[in-house]
């Protein structure tokens, strides 16, 4: 006799226990600590913080450990946690011009105040597997330069002084919050940038790359890329002034792009902007390129129909937590829907066969 499958509850419990065991791996191998992940897998930690929209390296490291290194799963853990946190208010805008930079490069000027600072970059490493690392060798100490105490001005500031790049007027308008308001289109640049900065790195990389290959090409120069820490200040109502509540590491990319000018505006450079938590260089450059591509309308450019110019397309599909959830939900049972399709296809086939038979009989009779 057929008995309907029961025991979903026990199956789930057992699956979770097995998962925990797999996560731990071979117990002969020592367990990873949160500090080890935070310190030695810091770029993974950065990605989880950026796309999880929560600056907390320890929590991000915990999420990576819990997710067995699946970064999207880790981002999901962080997002689900973040959404439960109370909101006290918002900080003052961070002043990236006052960033204490670990890295700062410009592709547009050979030198500028603040200099070119390579910082801890993979850029000029030869991608040869370093077998010494397998032996857990010690690392050499990096030489230390004198700390730069004055602020490092933005490269685009020099262009702005000359009036040769579009002005970015300061505004006190309250930006939208995509975690508190449902997305609607057109979203506006502030919400767009929020969406991009937490968007999937791979998706943005693909979108940005497509603009470089001619789908809405906007010829970007990396005016400046800087990585470092900035203080976060918040105004406390009881005090009536802003105090520093901590600091965050950020990567900021400003691109300088062409613009032909229009009847009212003489030719000038335009901008794309990327700002991401942590050391997230690839992501911030991609973000700047996509931001610039999405600005076609306000800059009076043609819509070439490229995916990267399509705000609704880009923003609706950039979030990997939404994407992965919906993609993976097709693993869930769909027997009811499938059954109804089965019935329908059987019925349509039956009718088609009957029709073919009638036609054949008619032909034979003629």
């Amino acid at each position: 006799m057929y008995v309907a499958v029961k025991g979903g509850e026990r199956a789930i419990e057992n699956a979770h226990t097995w998962l925990a065991e797999e996560r731990r791996g071979d117990k002969e191998v020592s367990e990873l600590s949160i500090a080890q992940i935070r310190e030695q897998l810091s770029l993974a930690v950065n990605r989880v913080m950026a796309e999880g929209s929560l600056f907390d390296p320890d929590l991000a490291a915990l999420a990576i450990k819990q997710a067995r290194g699946d970064l999207i799963e880790a981002i999901f853990l962080i997002r689900a946690y973040r959404t439960t946190l109370p909101r006290f208010g918002c900080s003052q805008p961070v002043e990236t011009g006052e960033m204490s930079c670990d890295r700062r490069i410009s592709a547009t000027f050979k030198d500028a105040p603040g200099g070119q600072v390579l910082g801890p970059t993979f850029d000029y490493t030869h991608r040869l597997l370093d077998f010494k690392l397998a032996a857990e060798g010690d690392v050499a100490e990096a030489p230390v330069a004198e700390t730069r105490t004055q602020a490092t001005p933005h490269i685009t500031g020099f262009l702005q002084g000359e009036g040769i790049i579009e002005q970015e007027p300061a505004s006190n308008a309250v930006p939208g919050d995509l975690t508190r308001e449902p997305m609607s289109f057109p979203a506006g640049r502030a919400v767009r940038l929020q969406s991009l900065t937490r968007g999937d790195e791979g998706f943005l990389l693909g979108m940005a790359y497509s603009t470089q290959r001619g789908y809405a090409r906007n010829h970007a120069f990396v005016g400046e890329l800087r990585i470092g820490t900035v203080p976060v200040e918040m105004e406390i109502p009881e005090l009536g002034f802003a105090i520093e509540i901590g600091e965050v590491e950020l990567t900021e990319c400003e691109t300088v792009n062409q613009f032909k000018g229009s009847k009212t505006v003489p030719p000038q450079f335009t901008r794309g902007y990327g700002l991401v938590f942590g050391q997230s260089e690839r992501k911030s450059i991609a973000m700047a390129l996509v931001d610039r591509a999405l600005r076609w309308e306000e800059l009076g450019e043609d819509n070439s129909g490229a995916p990267a110019q399509d705000e609704e397309f880009v923003l609706s599909h950039a979030d990997n937590i939404q994407a992965t959830g919906f993609l993976e939900h097709i693993k869930l049972p769909h027997y009811v829907d499938f059954q109804s399709e089965l019935e329908l296809v059987r019925k349509l086939r039956r009718e088609a066969a009957e029709l073919a038979e009638t036609l054949a009989a008619k032909e034979a009779a003629e």
């Binding site: 979903g8 959404t83 975690t179 937590i321 993976e328 939900h329 009811v336 059954q339 109804s340 399709e341």
Partner: protein, 285 residues
């Protein structure tokens, strides 16, 4: 879990969702945007339904959760446990004992009452989505009641297949105004949607809530000469013998033998307990 608020969501978020629900009830079939939260289960796995249930639950409620009509499907088990843990409410598998029923892909067979709320999990709330992918366009189409595209699609089905080739998520018109996606329920369930219970629909990823108030007119789209037909497998249930319930097809052996059983597990069980036996069933102990 005790660190979380009753039913997981904080009160402000619940208020926001309740406002959306009230608006949805006031404008039947209209998709109300709401600021959907990240839930501790993935998008596409019922986050919309869970948020609606969380905003609707009170400590006195009794919750039933079904997926594909069954209480024991893994995701239904998971969601039920979530609310047991975070809300500490009573749960049941019996349709008539539940005050709130969260469902995925089915409407229970037993008729619901005025004291009950049916919460649907919705993947894609927009019935026009696969005809027009842009939200900016479909919102306009709803505003203007411009549903010609949908009728053309149904007409094309008929001209190509001789029948409307939609078997589930069959579009309906609510109270003569909005065309609405009933969520991916089989079209067999469509006629049940004119019911005494409140029906709430939550789409988390797509950030939409919509509703059908009690006794609201819900018409499945069709043509005069091709009227809507609710359909199901042409068999009785193998276990309880029911001829009026929606059936799952189960493959029994390598030879491809099959049997048909009620997808609504509670309906099937209660019939067997009442002494009904299907061809392949045994009497309940």
């Amino acid at each position: 879990m005790s660190d979380y608020n009753f039913a997981y969501l904080d009160e402000q978020t619940k208020r926001m969702i309740r406002r959306a629900i009230l608006k949805a009830l006031a404008v039947p079939g209209y998709q109300v945007p709401f600021a959907s939260r990240e839930m501790p289960m993935p998008y596409g796995w019922g986050t919309g339904g869970v948020q609606v249930s969380a905003a609707t639950l009170t400590p006195d409620d009794t919750l039933k959760v079904i997926d594909q009509g069954a209480d024991d499907t893994t995701n239904a088990v998971s969601i039920r446990k979530f609310f047991e843990k975070t809300a500490g409410i009573a749960t049941t598998e019996e349709t008539k004992k539940a005050s709130i029923i969260q469902t995925r892909h089915r409407i229970p067979e037993a008729e619901l009452t005025e004291d009950q709320i049916l919460v649907y999990q919705v993947p894609i709330p927009e019935p026009l989505r696969f005809l027009e992918p842009r939200e900016t366009e479909t919102r306009k189409m709803h505003a203007l009641q411009e549903y010609g595209l949908m009728h053309v699609k149904l007409y094309e089905d008929i001209s190509q297949h001789g029948a409307i080739a939609t078997a589930y998520a069959y579009p309906v018109k609510v109270e003569g105004r909005y065309v609405m996606d009933p969520s991916p329920i089989p079209k067999f369930d469509n006629p049940k949607m004119e019911m005494p219970a409140i029906q709430l629909f939550g789409a988390g990823r797509e950030q939409r809530i919509y509703a059908v108030p009690p006794y609201t007119q819900v018409v499945s789209l069709d043509f005069e000469d091709y009227p809507f037909q609710a359909s199901k497998a042409d068999h009785p249930c193998g276990l309880c013998g029911a001829e009026d319930s929606y059936l799952d097809e189960v493959i029994l052996d390598d030879a491809g033998n099959r049997m048909f059983v009620c997808s609504d597990t509670d309906y099937c069980r209660s019939r067997r307990e009442a002494g009904q036996v299907g061809q392949l069933g045994e009497e309940a102990a």
